[in-house]
Symmetry: C2
Subunit: 112 residues, 2 copies
């Protein structure tokens, strides 16, 4: 998995354990794709300060994942649910159409 | 959900954030069903001390769940996967038997 997607997943799971400022910077940098310079300007701080806050936030998120492993568990669940979906797709001709679309809807929902 | 099952789920998700001693006491009391007195005797401390450690551990686990809500999210996913299983069961006669047992196996695995 590429770093951007990984950090966004870590943030989705553990972001509430960061300070307000760390949360804001992570959202702007990783979810909204602003540059260090743009965030620095918006908050009236140096690029280095933004860099340090992001670095610290990543360390905290990574620390919790190393302890708890909940994102890794989630990725594994998602992979297996994808396998279920594929199996159902292969057998779609023998399933009642309405049931199949409900099954798919639920699985997609669980998979986020 | 009853308290025992709830604490065990919280511990499954966040237990690694407790100290070694807190982990040990929670396991003995909630998973292995030892009494406060039995744990106290085993560790050479007072019943009150065991009670205090458990109380503090529950507060920490509850704090993380209030922040992150990952156990609540998991319970909801499990409920929805249960719905998928029920739907598949209702339609089992129109599904290839091998596929159905594989689908069930995966879903049960995901549901833990």
């Amino acid at each position: 998995m590429e770093k951007l997607a990984w950090i966004n997943l870590l943030y989705d799971f553990y972001g509430q354990l960061l300070t307000q400022r760390q949360q804001k910077f992570v959202e702007l940098y990783y979810a909204h794709d602003l540059s260090l310079g743009e965030i620095a300007e918006q908050f009236g701080v140096s690029r280095q300060a933004v860099h340090d806050v992001l670095k610290r936030a990543e360390q905290i998120l990574t620390h919790y994942e190393e302890k708890l492993g909940l994102v890794t568990r989630f990725i594994d669940q998602r992979r297996r649910l994808g396998e279920v979906l594929a199996l159902l797709d292969e057998n779609s001709s023998t399933l009642n159409g309405e049931t199949l679309s409900r099954v798919r809807e639920i699985l997609r929902d669980v998979m986020g």
